[in-house]
Protein backbone atom coordinates (compact mmCIF):
# COMPACT_ATOMS: atom_id res chain seq x y z
CA UNK A 1 0.00 0.00 0.00
CA UNK A 2 1.26 3.47 -0.78
CA UNK A 3 1.79 6.08 1.83
CA UNK A 4 -0.87 8.72 1.70
CA UNK A 5 1.29 11.76 1.32
CA UNK A 6 -0.97 13.42 -1.18
CA UNK A 7 -1.73 17.11 -1.38
CA UNK A 8 -4.69 18.21 0.63
CA UNK A 9 -7.37 20.72 -0.26
CA UNK A 10 -6.09 23.16 -2.70
CA UNK A 11 -9.43 24.79 -3.23
CA UNK A 12 -11.64 26.52 -0.73
CA UNK A 13 -11.14 24.93 2.63
CA UNK A 14 -14.76 23.77 2.56
CA UNK A 15 -13.91 20.49 0.97
CA UNK A 16 -16.06 17.52 1.92
CA UNK A 17 -15.06 13.99 1.12
CA UNK A 18 -18.60 13.23 0.06
CA UNK A 19 -21.35 15.20 -1.51
CA UNK A 20 -24.78 14.32 -2.90
CA UNK A 21 -26.33 16.48 -5.60
CA UNK A 22 -29.98 17.46 -5.10
CA UNK A 23 -31.02 14.68 -7.44
CA UNK A 24 -28.82 12.02 -5.85
CA UNK A 25 -30.20 12.94 -2.43
CA UNK A 26 -33.80 12.98 -3.64
CA UNK A 27 -33.40 9.51 -5.16
CA UNK A 28 -31.87 8.23 -1.91
CA UNK A 29 -34.81 9.75 0.01
CA UNK A 30 -37.32 8.03 -2.26
CA UNK A 31 -35.45 4.76 -1.91
CA UNK A 32 -35.42 5.06 1.89
CA UNK A 33 -39.16 5.73 2.12
CA UNK A 34 -40.16 3.08 -0.40
CA UNK A 35 -37.95 0.51 1.33
CA UNK A 36 -39.40 1.37 4.75
CA UNK A 37 -42.89 0.94 3.33
CA UNK A 38 -41.93 -2.45 1.96
CA UNK A 39 -42.61 -1.38 -1.61
CA UNK A 40 -39.12 -1.96 -2.96
CA UNK A 41 -36.15 -4.08 -2.00
CA UNK A 42 -32.78 -2.37 -2.51
CA UNK A 43 -31.28 -5.65 -3.75
CA UNK A 44 -33.93 -5.86 -6.46
CA UNK A 45 -33.18 -2.26 -7.46
CA UNK A 46 -29.46 -3.03 -7.64
CA UNK A 47 -30.23 -6.05 -9.80
CA UNK A 48 -32.18 -3.94 -12.30
CA UNK A 49 -29.48 -1.25 -12.32
CA UNK A 50 -26.85 -3.93 -12.97
CA UNK A 51 -28.63 -4.99 -16.14
CA UNK A 52 -28.02 -1.45 -17.44
CA UNK A 53 -24.43 -1.37 -16.23
CA UNK A 54 -23.04 -0.75 -19.70
CA UNK A 55 -25.61 1.97 -20.39
CA UNK A 56 -24.68 4.25 -17.51
CA UNK A 57 -22.33 7.18 -17.82
CA UNK A 58 -19.89 7.92 -20.60
CA UNK A 59 -17.47 5.14 -19.53
CA UNK A 60 -14.79 7.11 -21.29
CA UNK A 61 -11.96 5.24 -19.58
CA UNK A 62 -12.16 2.62 -22.33
CA UNK A 63 -11.17 5.26 -24.88
CA UNK A 64 -8.28 6.34 -22.61
CA UNK A 65 -6.99 2.76 -22.45
CA UNK A 66 -7.36 2.21 -26.20
CA UNK A 67 -5.41 5.39 -26.92
CA UNK A 68 -2.68 4.37 -24.48
CA UNK A 69 -2.39 0.99 -26.23
CA UNK A 70 -2.12 2.66 -29.64
CA UNK A 71 0.01 5.72 -28.94
CA UNK A 72 3.19 5.31 -26.89
CA UNK A 73 3.48 9.08 -26.39
CA UNK A 74 0.02 9.21 -24.88
CA UNK A 75 0.83 6.21 -22.67
CA UNK A 76 3.93 8.05 -21.40
CA UNK A 77 1.90 11.15 -20.66
CA UNK A 78 -0.75 9.06 -18.91
CA UNK A 79 1.92 7.51 -16.74
CA UNK A 80 3.41 10.88 -15.82
CA UNK A 81 0.25 12.97 -15.45
CA UNK A 82 -2.97 11.03 -15.86
CA UNK A 83 -5.12 13.98 -14.82
CA UNK A 84 -3.87 16.13 -17.69
CA UNK A 85 -3.72 13.29 -20.22
CA UNK A 86 -7.32 12.28 -19.50
CA UNK A 87 -8.48 15.90 -19.48
CA UNK A 88 -6.89 16.36 -22.93
CA UNK A 89 -9.56 14.01 -24.28
CA UNK A 90 -12.24 16.26 -22.84
CA UNK A 91 -13.02 14.01 -19.88
CA UNK A 92 -13.05 16.05 -16.71
CA UNK A 93 -13.60 14.69 -13.26
CA UNK A 94 -16.80 15.97 -11.75
CA UNK A 95 -15.10 17.41 -8.69
CA UNK A 96 -11.79 18.06 -10.41
CA UNK A 97 -10.30 15.02 -8.74
CA UNK A 98 -6.84 13.87 -9.65
CA UNK A 99 -6.41 10.64 -11.53
CA UNK A 100 -3.49 8.27 -11.57
CA UNK A 101 -3.07 5.51 -14.15
CA UNK A 102 -1.44 2.28 -13.01
CA UNK A 103 -0.22 -0.01 -15.79
CA UNK A 104 -0.46 -3.78 -15.69
CA UNK A 105 2.64 -5.63 -16.86
CA UNK A 106 3.56 -9.31 -17.00
CA UNK A 107 5.26 -8.75 -13.62
CA UNK A 108 2.59 -6.70 -11.85
CA UNK A 109 -1.19 -6.70 -11.75
CA UNK A 110 -2.98 -3.70 -10.24
CA UNK A 111 -6.23 -3.74 -8.28
CA UNK A 112 -8.20 -0.70 -7.09
CA UNK A 113 -10.29 -0.69 -3.94
CA UNK A 114 -12.66 1.92 -2.48
CA UNK A 115 -16.16 2.46 -3.62
CA UNK A 116 -17.71 2.86 -0.23
CA UNK A 117 -18.33 6.54 -0.65
CA UNK A 118 -19.25 8.85 -3.47
CA UNK A 119 -15.74 9.22 -4.86
CA UNK A 120 -15.78 6.40 -7.38
CA UNK A 121 -14.97 7.93 -10.79
CA UNK A 122 -17.84 6.26 -12.61
CA UNK A 123 -17.72 8.70 -15.51
CA UNK A 124 -14.33 7.24 -16.41
CA UNK A 125 -14.66 3.66 -15.22
CA UNK A 126 -18.37 2.94 -15.56
CA UNK A 127 -20.68 1.90 -12.75
CA UNK A 128 -19.02 -0.04 -9.92
CA UNK A 129 -20.20 -3.64 -9.55
CA UNK A 130 -22.67 -4.12 -6.70
CA UNK A 131 -20.41 -6.49 -4.76
CA UNK A 132 -17.65 -3.87 -4.80
CA UNK A 133 -19.68 -1.79 -2.36
CA UNK A 134 -19.86 -4.56 0.23
CA UNK A 135 -17.71 -3.46 3.20
CA UNK A 136 -16.00 -6.87 3.66
CA UNK A 137 -14.70 -6.72 0.11
CA UNK A 138 -12.46 -3.75 0.75
CA UNK A 139 -10.65 -5.26 3.71
CA UNK A 140 -10.36 -8.69 2.15
CA UNK A 141 -9.03 -7.23 -1.10
CA UNK A 142 -6.23 -5.59 0.86
CA UNK A 143 -5.39 -8.68 2.95
CA UNK A 144 -5.78 -11.37 0.30
CA UNK A 145 -6.04 -9.84 -3.18
CA UNK A 146 -5.04 -13.07 -4.93
CA UNK A 147 -7.81 -15.00 -3.18
CA UNK A 148 -10.42 -12.33 -3.88
CA UNK A 149 -9.47 -12.15 -7.55
CA UNK A 150 -9.64 -15.93 -7.84
CA UNK A 151 -13.19 -15.76 -6.51
CA UNK A 152 -14.03 -13.46 -9.38
CA UNK A 153 -12.60 -15.96 -11.81
CA UNK A 154 -9.28 -14.21 -12.30
CA UNK A 155 -6.41 -16.52 -11.42
CA UNK A 156 -3.09 -14.80 -11.89
CA UNK A 157 0.27 -16.52 -12.30
CA UNK A 158 2.06 -16.89 -8.96
CA UNK A 159 5.01 -14.92 -10.27
CA UNK A 160 2.83 -11.91 -11.09
CA UNK A 161 2.78 -9.51 -8.15
CA UNK A 162 -0.47 -7.82 -7.17
CA UNK A 163 -0.49 -4.19 -6.07
CA UNK A 164 -3.58 -2.87 -4.35
CA UNK A 165 -4.34 0.84 -4.64
CA UNK A 166 -6.65 2.49 -2.17
CA UNK A 167 -8.30 5.59 -3.61
CA UNK A 168 -8.22 8.72 -1.50
CA UNK A 169 -10.64 11.61 -1.51
CA UNK A 170 -8.30 13.53 -3.81
CA UNK A 171 -6.76 10.80 -5.93
CA UNK A 172 -8.56 8.20 -8.03
CA UNK A 173 -7.04 5.36 -9.99
CA UNK A 174 -7.56 3.72 -13.34
CA UNK A 175 -5.89 0.42 -14.22
CA UNK A 176 -4.45 0.25 -17.73
CA UNK A 177 -4.81 -3.46 -18.55
CA UNK A 178 -2.36 -5.23 -20.81
CA UNK A 179 -3.26 -5.11 -24.48
CA UNK A 180 -4.62 -8.52 -25.54
CA UNK A 181 -2.68 -10.56 -28.08
CA UNK A 182 -3.94 -10.65 -31.65
CA UNK A 183 -5.20 -7.06 -31.69
CA UNK A 184 -2.49 -5.45 -33.81
CA UNK A 185 -4.79 -4.52 -36.66
CA UNK A 186 -7.54 -2.96 -34.57
CA UNK A 187 -8.30 0.74 -34.49
CA UNK A 188 -8.91 2.59 -31.24
CA UNK A 189 -12.67 2.25 -31.34
CA UNK A 190 -12.44 -1.53 -31.80
CA UNK A 191 -9.83 -1.69 -29.05
CA UNK A 192 -12.06 0.30 -26.69
CA UNK A 193 -14.72 -2.39 -27.06
CA UNK A 194 -12.29 -4.85 -25.47
CA UNK A 195 -11.83 -2.70 -22.37
CA UNK A 196 -14.28 -3.78 -19.70
CA UNK A 197 -15.15 -1.99 -16.49
CA UNK A 198 -13.62 -4.89 -14.58
CA UNK A 199 -10.35 -4.55 -16.46
CA UNK A 200 -10.10 -0.88 -15.43
CA UNK A 201 -10.50 -1.66 -11.73
CA UNK A 202 -8.28 -4.72 -11.93
CA UNK A 203 -10.81 -7.43 -11.17
CA UNK A 204 -10.62 -8.67 -14.75
CA UNK A 205 -8.52 -8.50 -17.90
CA UNK A 206 -9.32 -6.88 -21.22
CA UNK A 207 -11.37 -9.10 -23.52
CA UNK A 208 -9.44 -11.22 -26.00
CA UNK A 209 -9.25 -9.84 -29.53
CA UNK A 210 -11.30 -11.65 -32.16
CA UNK A 211 -8.10 -12.64 -33.92
CA UNK A 212 -6.64 -14.33 -30.85
CA UNK A 213 -6.74 -18.11 -30.73
Amino acid sequence: MTSHDHDHDHHDGHHHDNHFSDMQARVKALETILTQKGLIDPAAIDAIVETYETKIGPRNGAAVVAKAWSEPDFADWLQRDATAAIASLGYMGRQGEHMRAVFNTPETHNLIVCTLCSCYPWAVLGLPPVWYKAPPYRSRAVIDPRGVLAEFGLTLPDKQKIRVWDSTAELRYIVIPERPAGTDGLDQSALADLVTRDSMIGTGLAKAGAGAA
Binding site: D17, F20, M23, I33, I45, V49, T51, R138
Partner: protein, 123 residues
Protein backbone atom coordinates in the same frame (compact mmCIF):
# COMPACT_ATOMS: atom_id res chain seq x y z
CA UNK B 1 -37.18 -6.08 -26.41
CA UNK B 2 -38.36 -9.18 -24.61
CA UNK B 3 -41.68 -8.88 -22.76
CA UNK B 4 -40.23 -10.45 -19.62
CA UNK B 5 -37.59 -7.81 -19.17
CA UNK B 6 -38.36 -5.56 -16.23
CA UNK B 7 -38.26 -2.48 -18.36
CA UNK B 8 -40.70 -3.69 -21.01
CA UNK B 9 -43.41 -1.13 -20.24
CA UNK B 10 -41.44 1.63 -18.59
CA UNK B 11 -38.98 1.64 -21.47
CA UNK B 12 -41.90 2.98 -23.46
CA UNK B 13 -42.00 6.13 -21.34
CA UNK B 14 -42.28 9.25 -23.48
CA UNK B 15 -38.93 10.78 -24.41
CA UNK B 16 -36.79 8.21 -22.61
CA UNK B 17 -33.19 8.46 -23.91
CA UNK B 18 -32.24 5.22 -25.67
CA UNK B 19 -29.23 3.62 -27.30
CA UNK B 20 -29.23 2.40 -30.90
CA UNK B 21 -30.26 -1.07 -29.75
CA UNK B 22 -33.30 0.33 -27.93
CA UNK B 23 -32.13 0.12 -24.32
CA UNK B 24 -32.48 3.08 -21.99
CA UNK B 25 -29.27 4.99 -21.35
CA UNK B 26 -28.39 6.94 -18.24
CA UNK B 27 -25.96 9.80 -17.83
CA UNK B 28 -25.50 9.17 -14.11
CA UNK B 29 -26.09 6.26 -11.74
CA UNK B 30 -28.95 7.96 -9.83
CA UNK B 31 -30.92 8.09 -13.06
CA UNK B 32 -30.75 4.31 -13.39
CA UNK B 33 -31.76 3.96 -9.73
CA UNK B 34 -34.79 6.19 -10.26
CA UNK B 35 -35.71 4.21 -13.36
CA UNK B 36 -35.34 0.90 -11.50
CA UNK B 37 -37.49 2.04 -8.58
CA UNK B 38 -40.22 3.14 -10.95
CA UNK B 39 -40.09 -0.21 -12.75
CA UNK B 40 -40.53 -2.07 -9.45
CA UNK B 41 -43.40 0.12 -8.24
CA UNK B 42 -45.21 -0.32 -11.51
CA UNK B 43 -44.64 -4.09 -11.45
CA UNK B 44 -46.11 -4.18 -7.95
CA UNK B 45 -49.19 -2.36 -9.13
CA UNK B 46 -48.55 0.72 -6.98
CA UNK B 47 -49.57 2.80 -9.98
CA UNK B 48 -50.84 2.02 -13.45
CA UNK B 49 -49.06 2.70 -16.69
CA UNK B 50 -51.45 5.52 -17.56
CA UNK B 51 -50.98 7.15 -14.14
CA UNK B 52 -47.23 7.05 -14.67
CA UNK B 53 -47.35 8.36 -18.23
CA UNK B 54 -49.58 11.22 -17.16
CA UNK B 55 -47.38 12.20 -14.20
CA UNK B 56 -44.25 12.11 -16.36
CA UNK B 57 -45.83 14.06 -19.22
CA UNK B 58 -46.99 16.70 -16.76
CA UNK B 59 -43.37 17.28 -15.68
CA UNK B 60 -41.92 17.03 -19.18
CA UNK B 61 -44.23 19.71 -20.53
CA UNK B 62 -43.67 22.21 -17.75
CA UNK B 63 -42.16 25.48 -18.95
CA UNK B 64 -38.50 26.17 -18.26
CA UNK B 65 -37.07 22.86 -19.42
CA UNK B 66 -33.49 22.83 -20.66
CA UNK B 67 -33.14 23.01 -24.44
CA UNK B 68 -30.88 19.97 -24.58
CA UNK B 69 -33.31 17.84 -22.52
CA UNK B 70 -30.47 16.98 -20.11
CA UNK B 71 -33.03 17.48 -17.32
CA UNK B 72 -35.12 14.53 -18.50
CA UNK B 73 -34.44 12.46 -15.40
CA UNK B 74 -34.96 15.48 -13.14
CA UNK B 75 -38.50 15.44 -14.56
CA UNK B 76 -38.66 11.69 -14.05
CA UNK B 77 -37.77 12.04 -10.36
CA UNK B 78 -40.23 14.93 -9.96
CA UNK B 79 -42.97 12.76 -11.49
CA UNK B 80 -42.13 9.83 -9.23
CA UNK B 81 -42.05 12.11 -6.16
CA UNK B 82 -45.41 13.57 -7.11
CA UNK B 83 -47.00 10.17 -7.63
CA UNK B 84 -45.87 8.75 -4.31
CA UNK B 85 -47.15 11.83 -2.48
CA UNK B 86 -50.45 11.86 -4.39
CA UNK B 87 -50.88 8.20 -3.51
CA UNK B 88 -50.25 9.15 0.16
CA UNK B 89 -47.26 6.84 0.41
CA UNK B 90 -45.43 9.79 1.90
CA UNK B 91 -45.79 13.56 2.24
CA UNK B 92 -43.93 16.30 0.40
CA UNK B 93 -42.47 17.51 3.71
CA UNK B 94 -41.20 14.07 4.68
CA UNK B 95 -39.59 13.64 1.30
CA UNK B 96 -37.96 17.09 1.42
CA UNK B 97 -36.69 16.58 4.97
CA UNK B 98 -35.24 13.21 4.10
CA UNK B 99 -33.56 14.63 1.00
CA UNK B 100 -31.77 17.27 3.10
CA UNK B 101 -30.93 14.66 5.71
CA UNK B 102 -29.18 12.51 3.07
CA UNK B 103 -27.19 15.55 1.92
CA UNK B 104 -26.03 16.30 5.46
CA UNK B 105 -25.22 12.62 5.97
CA UNK B 106 -23.06 12.58 2.82
CA UNK B 107 -21.12 15.69 3.86
CA UNK B 108 -20.57 14.30 7.35
CA UNK B 109 -19.23 10.97 6.08
CA UNK B 110 -15.46 10.70 5.85
CA UNK B 111 -13.79 9.24 2.82
CA UNK B 112 -13.81 5.47 2.65
CA UNK B 113 -16.89 5.03 4.84
CA UNK B 114 -20.29 4.02 3.50
CA UNK B 115 -22.72 6.95 3.42
CA UNK B 116 -25.53 6.08 5.82
CA UNK B 117 -28.55 8.10 6.81
CA UNK B 118 -27.52 7.74 10.48
CA UNK B 119 -24.48 9.88 9.66
CA UNK B 120 -26.70 12.96 9.45
CA UNK B 121 -25.45 14.96 12.45
CA UNK B 122 -28.80 16.60 13.23
CA UNK B 123 -31.08 13.68 12.61
Amino acid sequence: MNAHEPSSLLAGSPGLPKSNDGDPVFAEPWQAEAFAMTVRLHEKGVFSWSEWAEALSHELFKPGRRDDASDYFDCWVAALSRLVTELSITSVDTLDDLTRSWQRAAEATPHGQPIRLENDPIK
